[in-house]
Structure formats: structure tokens, C-alpha cells
């Protein structure tokens, strides 16, 4: 889901959105604030947290990326600013909440056995939400007016703007929606295994790898890439050791970049176009 959110943003705005990781962390912590510190009921907590997350994503676009886009700054300037915002937000969170891991749900979860697989309730929920949101996103992109406009933007932003689509509005929508997906994922994962301020960077890097693995330029491919990365990581943890997890993710990335830079589903393109 993080990959999907990253994909929506990356494809439309072409910004390598490091700060997506900060948005991810932010979602978990706002939920924590509402649910545990303010003792709100979980439903409004989730709604508020996701709403704020969407606003944060859109604010980053509006105040940081869009002015750079207007100035026609290079991609590298975007990447570096994104890294800067990431650092600011993450450290702000760490300053307020401390660096230690926060657990959202005390006690042991009820577990269910399905065949030979043992899952907790929250993990089943994660899976269901993932399936529903994946289908929902594909539906939005394929069959609604905004979705089609976003795809047009991803394909060729100059052409899209010539056709009278508002780039500013569309970019904002893509950041909002991408942050929404990211926020949902973050809260679910936080409920499952807890969180600390540094979770964001791992999440966004995994997301970026998944997007490239699936194929840049095609929104849906991120779903496939995300699944593939998840499976490989867990196989690695199971067969070798959890400590090599990130090394293996990035080895996959290197192989993909070298041998098939267009990703699994991507069309063959010349390197110069990338």
C-alpha cells in the first residue's frame, strides 16, 4: 500500500518523495496521540489521523514541491528538498515522542488458524484492507474522470496541461491520495507491531523498490511489486536471518536496475528515456 501511494505520487509528479516516509511515521503518531494520549474512541482517531496525514501530504506538495516545479528546478533539487523535509518531520516527531518504540495495543492478539497458517486478527484486517484498497485504487484510476486525468499526467504532463487539466490541482490530488494510502498502511502496521520514528525510511525505501520492481509508469504494477518484495523479504527472514532483510531488498533492487530497469510489467524503453 505504501508502494501504491508512492507510485501514485511518483508517476504523476516525478518527485522522488522521500518525505513519504515522514508522512508514514506521522500517520502512526497522530493516531497514537488521538487514541492513547487523548483517549478517543478508535474510529474517530483513525479518521482524524488519516485526515491530518492527507493534509500533511498536500501541504508538502503545496509549499515545497510545487514552487520548485514552477521554477522548473531539476529532479535532484526535488530529491534533496524531500530529504530535507523528511529529516525535519522525523526529528520533530522524535523530539515530541522520544526515540523508543511505541506499542499501540497491549497484550497478545487473538490468533486464528487457517490451515497451517497462524494469523492474528489485525493481520487478517491488514490483508483485507490491502485487497480492498488495491481494487479501489485501480477502479479509481481506470474509470473515474480524475483517475484518467492522473494517468494522463503521468504519461505526459505537458500534454495534459495543454488539454486544460489543472496540473496544480491534479498534483495535489495525487499527493493527497498517496498520503491517504500511506496513512492507512502506517496505522495498520503500527497496530500490529508498534512503531518508532525511524520506521518511515524503511517503509519508503521498500515502497520505492516495489515501485521500480513492478514497473515505473504503471500505477497497478506497484501492487505486484509490493507483494513480490513482501514475499521475498519474508522468505529471506525465514531462510537466512532477519538481519539481512534490508540488504536482500537492495540486492533485488540492484539486479532489477541492472537487468530490467523497466520493471516486471514495464514496457521496454531505451535507457535515455528513463
Amino acid at each position: 500500500m505504501i508502494a501504491l501511494g508512492f507510485s501514485v505520487i511518483y508517476n504523476t509528479s516525478k518527485v522522488f518523495h522521500f518525505a513519504h516516509g515522514a508522512v508514514y511515521t506521522f500517520a502512526g503518531y497522530t493516531f497514537y496521540t488521538f487514541a492513547r494520549l487523548l483517549k478517543l474512541h478508535w474510529l474517530p482517531s483513525i479518521l482524524f489521523a488519516i485526515l491530518l496525514t492527507i493534509l500533511l501530504g498536500m501541504a508538502i506538495e503545496n509549499f515545497i514541491y510545487y514552487p520548485l516545479f514552477k521554477k522548473k528546478s531539476s529532479l535532484m533539487v526535488g530529491v534533496i528538498s524531500s530529504l530535507g523535509i523528511y529529516i525535519v518531520i522525523i526529528n520533530f516527531i522524535a523530539m515530541l515522542f522520544g526515540n523508543e518504540t511505541k506499542i499501540l495495543r497491549p497484550g497478545v492478539e487473538k490468533a486464528y488458524e487457517i490451515g497451517t497458517v497462524i494469523l492474528t486478527r489485525i493481520q487478517i484486517l491488514e490483508f483485507l484492507v490491502f485487497v480492498i484498497l488495491s481494487f479501489f485504487t485501480v477502479y479509481l484510476l481506470k474509470f473515474t474522470q480524475y483517475g484518467q486525468a492522473l494517468r494522463a499526467l503521468a504519461d505526459n504532463s505537458n500534454l495534459a496541461s495543454v488539454l486544460g487539466l489543472s496540473l496544480k490541482k491534479l498534483r495535489l490530488i495525487s499527493f493527497g491520495y498517496g498520503s491517504f494510502l500511506c496513512g492507512v498502511a502506517s496505522i495498520l502496521v503500527a497496530l500490529d507491531v508498534g512503531m518508532d520514528p525511524q520506521v518511515g525510511i524503511t517503509a519508503v525505501l521498500n515502497g520505492a523498490v516495489a515501485v521500480i520492481l513492478g514497473g515505473v509508469g504503471i500505477f497497478e504494477s506497484a501492487i505486484l511489486g509490493g507483494l513480490a518484495i513482501g514475499v521475498v523479504q519474508n522468505l529471506a527472514v525465514w531462510q537466512i536471518s532477519a538481519r539481512w532483510e534490508s540488504a536482500i531488498t537492495f540486492l533485488i533492487l540492484l539486479f532489477i536496475l541492472i537487468f530490467r530497469p523497466q520493471g516486471i510489467l514495464g514496457k521496454r524503453r531505451r535507457l535515455e528515456e528513463l
Binding site: 534533496i80 529529516i87 521500480i212 530497469p261 535515455e272 528513463l274
Partner: protein, 289 residues
């Protein structure tokens, strides 16, 4: 006094890192975030040779450079086939992989426990043990490297790199193979970064993998982005700002618990603001076009 010298020693170490990264970013236009890996490889090679095999510090430096250069070739060959974001991601991948190896290959590096008791540099029975003596050593080495880079920056080689940065196709048309020059820039940049690693290891006498993380790469990157890329002044002013800033915060009596975070916030904000207003950094000439 020792406190000030300590900061200056760290400045010397980071100046080496900043100058060598500047060769990649400011001159060749390659935004690489593998630099902490080169730094770490230098530190670990020096340390292991000294601790396990009793080598002299000054003998380990060429070997550390050599090791780091070999690694630079390994990074450069696949990464240079890629452009823009993909190049960045590929160097990031190498950074994460190197950190994982340092962290997990416990038999060799002792992993998260680190390696303590690294000897101080010795030459002809004279030990660079005390901080003032070490300060002289660090400054001399940093100054030598500064001179090397000064030569490099203004040499024909440096000018070819700049032409590649500005327009690769033109450089190619003039008979300069961009890939070959980029690989050479990587080898030189990576190799010299290893010296900083050796110096750091023998100065603090203890290393562990957490000194060579992705964050460290980002820190080195921000030094030269804030200071400015593409010339000698930029990395110098960047190093001074980035290393003295936290010390100023210390004097403002900000509580320790939030000081580290405050510092990071300031770095991050500086990056964002500079990118918006002055993408070439305070004294730089290259604007990431």
C-alpha cells in the same frame, strides 16, 4: 582548548569527505549517497589491519585507499548505466548493503559490538596520542588532500569532468568518454574518502557500524550541498558550518534530550530553504540543472 582541537580534528576528517564527494557531485554531477560506505570501508580496513595483524597506521592508509577504490569500481560500473533517480537509488542500495555487511559479518567486524582499542598512529617510535599532536597530524593530512584536490579541480581532468556535468553529449563529441571519466572520478573520490575513515578510526580508537549509516551519507551530502558544490570554498565553508553549528547549540543550553533532534531539524530546514532559494549552496557554482 582540547575541546576546540577536537572539533577541528573532526572538521579535518569531514573536509576530506566533503572534498572527495564534491568531486562526484560538484564536478561530475553524480548525486551519490554511498560516501559513508567508502568512509566505513576505509575505517574498517585500517582498523582490522592494525588490530589483527599489527600493521603500522601509515601503512594501512594505502591499503584502505586500495580497498575503497576497488569498491568504488564495483559501485560505479552498474550505477553509471543509470540516470537521475535511478542512479541515486543504486548508490543508496550499495550504502545499505555495506552497512548490513559491517553490521552482520560478526566474525570479521564484530558487528554491533564494534572494535575497541584501535592503536594511535606511530612513526619511528613517536606516537600521535595526545589531542594536540593528533590535531597536527589530521590537519597536515587534510591539507595535503586539500592540495591534491586543488590540483585535480583545475587540472585538465577536472575540466573534463565539469564539461561532462554541463553537457555529456558535447564532452563525448569532443572525444572524451564520459563513462570512463565518471568511473575515474568515483575511484579517486572513493579512495580518498577512505583516508578520512582511517583517521577517524585511529582518532576515536573505537568503531562500530553505526558511524557509517545512511544518515552519515546524508550528512556528508548536506555538508557540500549547504556549503556549495563545484569548487574548493564550498566544502570548506560547509564543513565549518555543519560542525560548529551543533557546538553553538550546546552553548545555548538546549537540553541534551532534544539537542540532537534540534540539530537535525536545522540541517533539514537548511536543505529545504537552500534548494528553494539558492540551489548551488552558499558558495557553490553548480546548480543541479
Amino acid at each position: 582548548m582540547n575541546y576546540l582541537l577536537h572539533i577541528l580534528i573532526m572538521c579535518a576528517i569531514y573536509l576530506i569527505l566533503a572534498l572527495s564527494l564534491n568531486l562526484l557531485i560538484g564536478f561530475t554531477g553524480l548525486l551519490s549517497i554511498t560516501h559513508a560506505a567508502f568512509y566505513g570501508i576505509g575505517a574498517y580496513i585500517s582498523t582490522l589491519l592494525m588490530v589483527k595483524m599489527g600493521f603500522n597506521f601509515f601503512l594501512t592508509i594505502p591499503l584502505a585507499i586500495l580497498g575503497s577504490m576497488i569498491f568504488a569500481v564495483i559501485v560505479a560500473l552498474p550505477s553509471l548505466r543509470l540516470k537521475g533517480d535511478y542512479f541515486l537509488l543504486s548508490t543508496l542500495a550499495f550504502q545499505v548493503i555495506v552497512f548490513s555487511i559491517l553490521y552482520n559479518w560478526i566474525a570479521l567486524t564484530r558487528g554491533p559490538y564494534g572494535i575497541p582499542g584501535i592503536p594511535k598512529p606511530k612513526i619511528f617510535g613517536f606516537e600521535f596520542g595526545e589531542i594536540p599532536v593528533y590535531f597536527i597530524l589530521a590537519v597536515v593530512i587534510a591539507f595535503l588532500i586539500f592540495l591534491i584536490f586543488k590540483q585535480l579541480y583545475f587540472s585538465p581532468f577536472g575540466r573534463v569532468l565539469k564539461s561532462i556535468r554541463e553537457d555529456e553529449i558535447v564532452a563525448n563529441a569532443l572525444g572524451k568518454d564520459p563513462t570512463k571519466f565518471k568511473i575515474e572520478a568515483f575511484i579517486i573520490g572513493g579512495g580518498l574518502a577512505a583516508i578520512a575513515g582511517s583517521l577517524y578510526a585511529s582518532y576515536v580508537t573505537y568503531i562500530d557500524p553505526t558511524s557509517f549509516t545512511l544518515d552519515e551519507s546524508v550528512f556528508i551530502l548536506s555538508i557540500i550541498i549547504i556549503g556549495g558544490t563545484g569548487n574548493l570554498k564550498g566544502p570548506l565553508i560547509g564543513t565549518i558550518i555543519m560542525l560548529f553549528l551543533p557546538e553553538i547549540l550546546r552553548f545555548l543550553r538546549i537540553p541534551d534530550t532534544i539537542a540532537a533532534n534540534m540539530r537535525q531539524i536545522i540541517y533539514g530546514a537548511l536543505l529545504v530553504i537552500l534548494m528553494r532559494l539558492r540551489p548551488q549552496g552558499i558558495l557553490g557554482e553548480y546548480r543541479f540543472e
